[in-house]
Symmetry: C2
Subunit: 596 residues, 2 copies
């Protein structure tokens, strides 16, 4: 149950697909030279493998627990977080002004993947802090930035996102938490928030809660929500800790997975009111929260990729070790089960989907860097549009994929997979949260359809499909069965995706429920086709390296074979998905409520 | 978290698709009149819903536990099993000669589904007893039958299957447990067996272990395995219990799911030898065990169907109750989430797959009854061949389906689904064993390919496809968009299945690893196409009923809509699967072991 970071694949994707050599020419990104990046990744990989990964299983067996308002995290977490903070890992992508390393998102991305592969439960605290930092950087006052950013970036404190309430779930229009202005620039906050990741813990001396609440005269619905900073301990002018604030953890949840991550119910204001300060302007809270959410959604996509890779690595190790039954092609005695074709099929399915989702996410990170750092505003804007289109796909598809992969991971282990001691079952349990939090897959899909596709009549989607077509032209010129199969499947996929984009754009006004009946399937189709596209690009690069006699031929050959597998086994789902989307809404919507 | 048996659908399938009116004309099956069957199912449904279903969640929270060799089952299990036995439910399908009800398999099938929907953990003890009864009926001596069958059929005692050993897993050739003849007709058995479901418990005073072991001069491999009865307590000539046998439970497993079902490690012979008697002839143990296995495999398929239906019912109840966000088509305030298209899509996906798998399993049960009771040996033989083809599909596809469905079940619940208190997560955990025990999906698929398809060059498979084509002809003559869509999808599916059957039959000798690379996908394809076929038949019946003004039009309309959904969303996966099977083995097999 060890974890070895796939540095070779990560660096391949960064250099060959995600444009590191372009990113590190952008203003502010110059430090991210290929050598520096490789050194950063190697150090991060060591920390993750040696310090965090060994805690994953033990912390599942002995989760964080609540007693009298305090949460004690799993054994080893406190030291590990101290190490994480001291090494500066919280600050990889954050500004040097506040103590960060100021590296591009493309470089932070593999670090986040590695941390999550090591332990999702542990990595969550860092993910939430990242979100809080992003929100404060965008909307915080100078004073708020001065007070909170350095401790958050350094890992001295951590951050949380407080959206959900018992009656509200994903529906933020229903938020009821109140914030009453005190006339001194502060507010008193009253309400209950649930599902607050690391809402209470013992890793740091303070916790910076970012809380959605309504001011007294706020309009109803999502347009009346404001964002507040409500620290666990108030902060004195000199940065030292003041009084304990009236924000208390009244319980934590008993969950299917990520058991070491405390999921808190937080009570604000039961003892007179929790002191908070407004972030940005009143009634713009949702907008600021989306900054956190979008950063977090991309991060949750990486959680899926990291977790799936961990499950894959564990399944491979088991399959090489476990000896059972003869080889189908004939052997004197039993062989390791990696010789059995269906075990191999499962491993290739796991591998190919992990590699495809990784490549797509890293490509997205590179585009995000261009969108944020390029000197030309038009280039920034066009890249931002592409990045925004990709975020729900990266989040939704990578996390759904992680559930397929961790399920296969248990299956490879056979009966042993069902025994908790083995550890494969934990991945299966942990994965289930990923398609739910930070917006369910359906919410990602609504975003993909409603905002990212319909807002421009599918123009961005089609521009990406145009890039897929360019890759298809390159594939068509290649020799050999592998490239022929990849080409055929990618063409079938891009045709299906284009048809669906046109269907969505054309029918949104006249048949909104019909279109949304297929929204999750559209997200899945987009993930498969774009995943197939980046794998195809990877195969082209790999063949060029082999032809040029460069590098590790075994690695490149495996990449081509993995792309071929993805084309034959995953991309071939595209046409069926198109039919289900375009023809399938009648069946979705036919029943009356009482027929269920 | 209640469970309501879907009696209306069960009776519809039995009467309209699975041929109850033919089955109850078979010799020995005459008691199964439509009225009797309905009464039996209603009584069983009451028992399951009132007595067993309420234990499912509580028994997961407080599982069976081991102390000093004894296993205490979850609260309520002992009384529930007493009620189960006293009502005669263990004996539904077993011969009246031994106290059973002697009803056809087609009637036992919904009873088994209901019991499993109520609690898989509880139902397992009955499932294992069924297997032991089948084996003794087939291969037991008159004395063994006289001693063991009545107590097993009445539920006074229970039975177990002891195959797996720590080093052996699914590979029975590696069984090491020894059985040494004592010269008095008994044997002393020595060895360790793992993963023994209900290998120890407190529900009954005795447990009848059926154990695979090797006699001293037995040949190596599976041809040297014999089957022994090793009771927990020896049985005196008058049927009373004698001495405690040397078969002891040394621990039980800590598992992902089915936690209330004790999974035992049994140690035979550590204190001088466990006394056993040979079942049938030496070295034919595997053959007898397969009798148990085949009965059990069909039963595990029903576990998948029952569990999936439970998850579906729970998701529907939550979706009707949970109010969140406005209706897409416009509403003043938030609506219950069943109004949201993607929730509806998930519910229809769950529903349609449950109904399809149920219909296929019940059709299989009806065929099994003909295969066992028909007067004409040729009819028996041809039906047996079809039934044997269907068993791995019913087991493999229904259980894989249950993992898709329980995953959607959690997803419908959103964040609440991840909290164990809700109960949806338990189904997701419980489902994972079903594709593993009684032969993994790959083992089912190997059976489907190696024995059930290749042994006759695909003849049985093609005869079934011929029946699908007959249904297609009927569909082609129907009016309306629903039937048009169902027809198109079924034709696409049957074409794909036929192509795959031909590929398998043609390539087995020259490319065995290539063929087995796609074996699980072939099983899935067969499940989808045959599931689509029985749903199409159901839709045709439903339309005829509507046209004839018979019965509940709402039920029949829902059946047509559900068949339409299955066609558009599930059957449309068929072509992609064909490509993955026929073209996809290169990608499966390309990597060397060290490239993983």
């Amino acid at each position: 149950m060890t974890y070895k970071a796939p540095l070779k694949d990560m660096l391949f994707v960064m250099n060959e697909l995600a444009g590191l050599s372009t990113v590190n020419t952008l203003p502010g990104c110059e430090d991210a030279t290929a050598d520096t990046v490789e050194a950063v990744l190697e150090e991060n990989a060591k920390f993750c493998a040696n310090v965090v990964a060994p805690l994953n299983h033990s912390s599942d067996k002995e989760p964080s627990f609540w007693h009298d308002g305090q949460v004690t995290t799993s054994k080893g977490f406190k030291d590990a977080f101290k190490g994480f903070a001291e090494a500066g890992w919280q600050g990889v992508q954050h500004p040097t002004d506040f103590g960060g390393q100021g590296l591009p998102k493309l470089v932070a991305t593999p670090c986040i993947e590695m941390l999550n592969a090591s332990s999702i439960s542990f990595a969550l605290v860092a993910l939430l802090s990242d979100g809080a930092i992003e929100a404060l950087l965008t909307a915080g006052s100078e004073e708020q930035k001065a007070t909170y950013l350095e401790p958050l970036v350094s890992g001295k404190w951590t951050g949380t996102m407080n959206l959900t309430e018992p009656q509200a779930g994903s529906d933020l229009a229903a938020v009821r938490t109140r914030a009453v202005p005190q006339g001194d620039g502060t507010y008193k906050v009253f309400g209950t928030k649930i599902f607050i990741t690391y809402g209470e813990h013992d890793l740091t001396e303070n916790i910076v809660h970012l809380v959605l609440a309504r001011t007294p005269d706020a309009p109803a619905g999502v347009k009346g929500i404001s964002l507040f900073i409500v620290p666990k301990f108030l902060v004195n002018a000199d940065g030292s800790l003041g009084e304990r604030n009236d924000a208390h953890c009244v319980s934590i949840e008993h969950k299917l997975g990520i058991k070491a991550s405390p999921t808190a119910v937080l009570q604000f204001g039961d003892h007179g009111g929790a002191i908070g300060t407004l972030v940005g302007e009143e009634n713009r809270g949702l907008e600021y929260m989306f900054i956190m959410m979008n950063a977090a959604r991309f991060g949750v996509g990486l959680q899926g990729i990291g977790l799936a890779d961990r499950a894959y690595q564990q399944a491979v190790a088991f399959a090489k070790d476990r000896v059972q039954s003869r080889d189908l092609a004939g052997s004197a005695g039993p062989v390791s089960i990696i010789h059995h074709p269906d075990v191999r099929r499962m491993l290739m399915s796991m591998r190919s989907q992990v590699e495809a989702a990784r490549a797509l996410a890293y490509v997205g990170a590179g585009i995000s860097d261009v969108a944020h750092h390029h000197e030309d505003a038009a280039v920034r804007a066009s890249n931002l549009a592409v990045y925004e289109y990709l975020v729900p796909i990266i989040k939704g598809w990578s996390t759904e994929m992680s559930q397929d992969v961790t399920r296969d991971g248990v299956q490879v282990h056979g009966g042993m997979g069902f025994i908790e001691e083995t550890g494969a079952a934990q991945h299966y349990r942990d994965a289930k949260i990923l398609t739910i939090y930070e917006g369910t897959t359906a919410i990602q899909a609504n975003d993909l359809v409603g905002r990212k596709t319909v807002r421009d009549g599918g123009a961005v989607a089609k521009s990406i499909i145009g890039q897929v077509r360019e890759t298809e032209a390159l594939l068509a010129a290649m020799d050999g069965a592998d490239f022929k199969a990849i080409h055929r499947a990618l063409v079938e996929g891009s045709v299906a995706l284009e048809a669906v984009v046109e269907y969505v754009a054309a029918n949104m006004k006249t048949d909104i429920k019909g279109v949304f009946s297929g929204s999750v399937l559209y997200l899945k189709l987009a993930g498969i086709v774009l995943g197939g596209w980046v794998m195809a690009r990877a195969a082209l690069v790999a063949q060029a390296k082999i032809d040029g006699g460069e590098g590790d031929a075994g690695f490149y050959k495996a990449k081509i074979a993995t792309a071929r597998f993805f084309a034959d086994h995953i991309l071939t789902q595209a046409s069926g998905l198109r039919t289900a989307i375009v023809e399938g809404s009648a069946g979705v919507l036919a029943l009356t409520e009482d027929q269920f």
